[in-house]
């Protein structure tokens, strides 16, 4: 399997706050990677650096053979290849579900409207929301909104999907809905990096678990590291849940 | 009765627009001067009253009388039949000419020649009314709220024809000699009078009497000569006899 994402000793500072302190890891095609760690350990920042929502200070990142932090990078082609879903959904509130999903294909890929609509219906069906195409985001529950956000990313047919705590704003039942969609995507072979607090889910779907601590990859390995942590920090982190 | 009220208050409230040169204006030291101002001063002095100048605007002269904000109006107030329906006028104390002013080269001898021209006038004055009556439809009339703005429009070249008093045409030439404005023809000769509320016959009689007296003794003529550099015409003086 080829490498889709590679971070090499990435450093990132916000002013004096040294948030990423030499982060390196690699993700192969079709792999599902779960990033876990305490609040403030730099998980989101790492994710955001991967599709260049943040600039890095040192190190290198390559994604689908784009040198992400090179000067000449064409940001738009990078973003066609990388989809990202946020905790707060970030759906466009003034557009219907359908318009949210077709916006990318029509405006970026210049897809004809009819084709984009078919595509949108297709991804909506995949996330189990084919009947909500004409609804507006505020008419949907949190779980449904999150699934639309996933559908919106999927419609761009990315090679890599990033998920940043996509379920932490949801109650257990809605969380279940969203996790099911993600599990199915994983089964279909999508390459995924997910920041998550759902240890159970990480155990079940992740091929690789990365535990971040103080801006570093502190421990890394198969999901079994959650059950046999090598470091005291991971042991404590896994222990805090109820 | 208005006259009794005035005498009791020992004060004559005269409404004047403070900026209609040369009838009323402020000099460099901000002293109020002008022919109407001196007329009002003379009248108050002769009546043995203190003069209180109530600043007004041309469009507000009638309402000021109607709502009793002033006792009389002495402010370039021409006698017209329309006005006479709602207020009373004294005997006229001075004339005012409505002339059409335009650059030297322009051929304008009659209202018909205004066709297609940009003509300006000050809104709400008799100038405006006379112009509106006679102007051909193809003339574009633009109206401003006061003479100063009309003047600015003339000086800055916004318009080429101005319906106004001869004095103001001179001022345009002083400001901008290149415009070379001259008086083309007289549209109307109006009579200026003191305006007062309808039905105040005792006050009107007193003022009429005062105007006749001062036309006869030459005081009003002196004031007119000082600001307009001309003598009062015979028809006005005839009223004094």
């Amino acid at each position: 399997m080829s490498t889709v994402v590679e971070l090499q000793s990435v450093h990132k500072r916000f002013g004096n706050n040294h948030v990423l302190r030499g982060v390196s890891f690699a993700v192969r095609r079709g792999e599902v990677v779960a990033i876990i760690g305490k609040s403030g350990s730099g998980k989101s920042t790492a994710l955001r650096c991967i599709n260049r929502l943040e600039q890095i200070d040192e190190g290198q990142i390559s994604v689908c053979s784009h040198a992400v932090h090179a000067d000449g990078l064409d940001l738009r082609t990078l973003r066609r290849d990388v989809g990202i879903v946020f905790q707060s959904y970030n759906l466009f509130p003034h557009l219907t579900v359908l318009q949210n999903i077709t916006l990318g294909p029509t405006a970026v890929k210049r897809m004809p409207a009819a084709q984009a609509n078919t595509l949108a219906q297709d991804v909506l069906t995949r996330v189990g929301l084919s009947d909500k195409a004409q609804a507006y985001p505020e008419q949907l529950s949190g779980g449904q909104q999150q699934r639309v956000a996933i559908a919106r990313s999927l419609a761009m047919q990315p090679q890599l999907m990033l998920f940043d705590e996509v379920t932490s704003a949801l109650d257990p039942e809605l969380t279940g809905e969203v996790l099911k969609v993600m599990e199915q995507m994983a089964a279909e072979g999508m390459t995924m990096i997910l920041v998550t607090h759902e240890m159970g889910f990480a155990r079940r779907v992740a091929d690789q678990v990365i535990f971040m601590h103080q801006g570093q990859v502190w421990e890394q390995g198969g999901p079994d590291i959650l059950d046999q942590p090598a470091t005291a920090e991971l042991r404590q982190f896994v222990g805090t849940g109820l | 009765d208005q006259l009794d009220t005035i005498l009791a208050a020992k004060k004559l409230r005269v409404a004047i627009d403070l900026a209609v040169p040369p009838y009323s204006m402020k000099d460099d030291k901000l002293k109020l001067i002008g022919s109407d101002v001196e007329t009002a001063q003379l009248m108050a002095r002769d009546f043995g009253l203190e003069l209180e100048v109530i600043p007004t605007t041309l469009t507000n002269r009638v309402p000021y009388l109607q709502t009793n904000k002033a006792d009389v109006v002495v402010s370039a107030f021409s006698i017209t039949p329309e006005r006479a329906k709602v207020i009373d006028f004294s005997v006229p104390y001075a004339p005012i000419l409505v002339v059409v002013g335009a650059p030297k080269g322009m051929k304008i001898d009659s209202p018909a020649d205004l066709a297609g021209k940009k003509v300006i006038a000050t809104r709400g004055t008799t100038n405006d009314q006379e112009l509106t009556k006679v102007a051909p439809p193809s003339a574009t009339i633009t109206r401003f709220d006061d003479d100063a703005t009309s003047m600015t429009a003339m000086v800055s070249g916004q318009a080429e024809v101005w319906v106004t008093s001869p004095m103001l045409l001179q001022v345009v030439n002083e400001k901008n000699p290149a415009r070379n404005i001259e008086s083309k023809f007289t549209l109307k000769a109006n009579l200026l009078a003191v305006g007062l509320r309808k039905g105040e016959t005792r006050l009107k009689d007193k003022i009429d009497h005062w105007v006749r007296e001062n036309l006869r003794n030459g005081q009003l003529n002196a004031i007119y000569r000082k600001y307009h550099h001309a003598e009062l015409p015979p028809d006005i003086l005839a009223a004094g006899r």
């Binding site: - | 900026a19 402020k26 605007t57 507000n60 109607q66 709502t67 009793n68 709220d145 100063a148 000086v155």
Partner: protein, 215 residues
């Protein structure tokens, strides 16, 4: 511009400031009452207040001036001087707008704050006074200061109808006697700017502070 003429402009500016200050203080009192009436539990009071505000907000200030200046005499109540007439027109105008601004701020205080206050047993008036108004006030400062700028500029309308001697009026009188519009109106513009700009600036600074507060 002679010394006296410049002084006359300054005097006009003083008239403008005087009228603005009167307008804002009296308008604030009336505006607050209107704002409170707009959030009253009684439907009739709310309707009345909102009808009144819409009426005023749909009327040019010029017309309000006319009504306040001539109205009393027409109704046979007697004449009013220029300053009281101008002040009342401006106060009516300002209170409608301030009332609207403040109603918005009161309603922007989150409903949960009302509930929390209710749950510890505060009376309606205590809730308004101790919980809602202090928070609304903080939000209201920038738009209120911004509106003060409008008031200062709009006092110029007072001279158009009433002949109240404020800055535009004095500039106009000077110009009408001397015919140097750019000199006098330019001077007036500078004075207006000098009065308004600090307020605009201040309102903006306040606004920024508020956003920082909200995080």
């Amino acid at each position: 511009m002679s010394h006296e003429q410049f002084l006359s402009l300054l005097q006009g500016a003083w008239g403008t400031l005087l009228l603005s200050t009167l307008t804002l203080t009296l308008g604030a009192v009336l505006g607050l009452s209107l704002a409170l009436a707009r959030v009253s539990p009684r439907r009739a009071v709310r309707r009345l207040a909102s009808g009144w505000m819409q009426l005023i907000q749909g009327t040019p200030l010029l017309v309000l001036m006319g009504v306040c200046f001539y109205g009393p005499a027409l109704l046979g109540v007697g004449t009013v001087e220029a300053l009281p007439a101008a002040t009342s027109a401006m106060v009516i105008y300002a209170s409608a707008f301030l009332g609207d601004i403040w109603r918005g701020c009161i309603q922007a205080v989150h409903k949960s704050q009302w509930e929390a206050a209710e749950c510890i047993g505060l009376t309606r008036w205590q809730r308004m006074r101790m919980i809602v108004l202090p928070q609304a006030l903080r939000m209201a400062t920038p738009p209120t200061v911004g509106f003060a700028v409008q008031v200062i500029k709009n006092t110029s309308v007072a001279s158009l109808v009433i002949g109240f001697a404020e800055l535009s009026y004095n500039a106009k009188v000077l110009n009408n006697s001397t015919f140097q519009p750019f000199l006098y109106f330019g001077g007036a513009a500078l004075l207006y700017f000098a009065m308004c700009y600090p307020l605009s600036r201040w309102s903006r600074v306040l606004e920024r502070k508020l956003h920082v507060h909200r995080g």
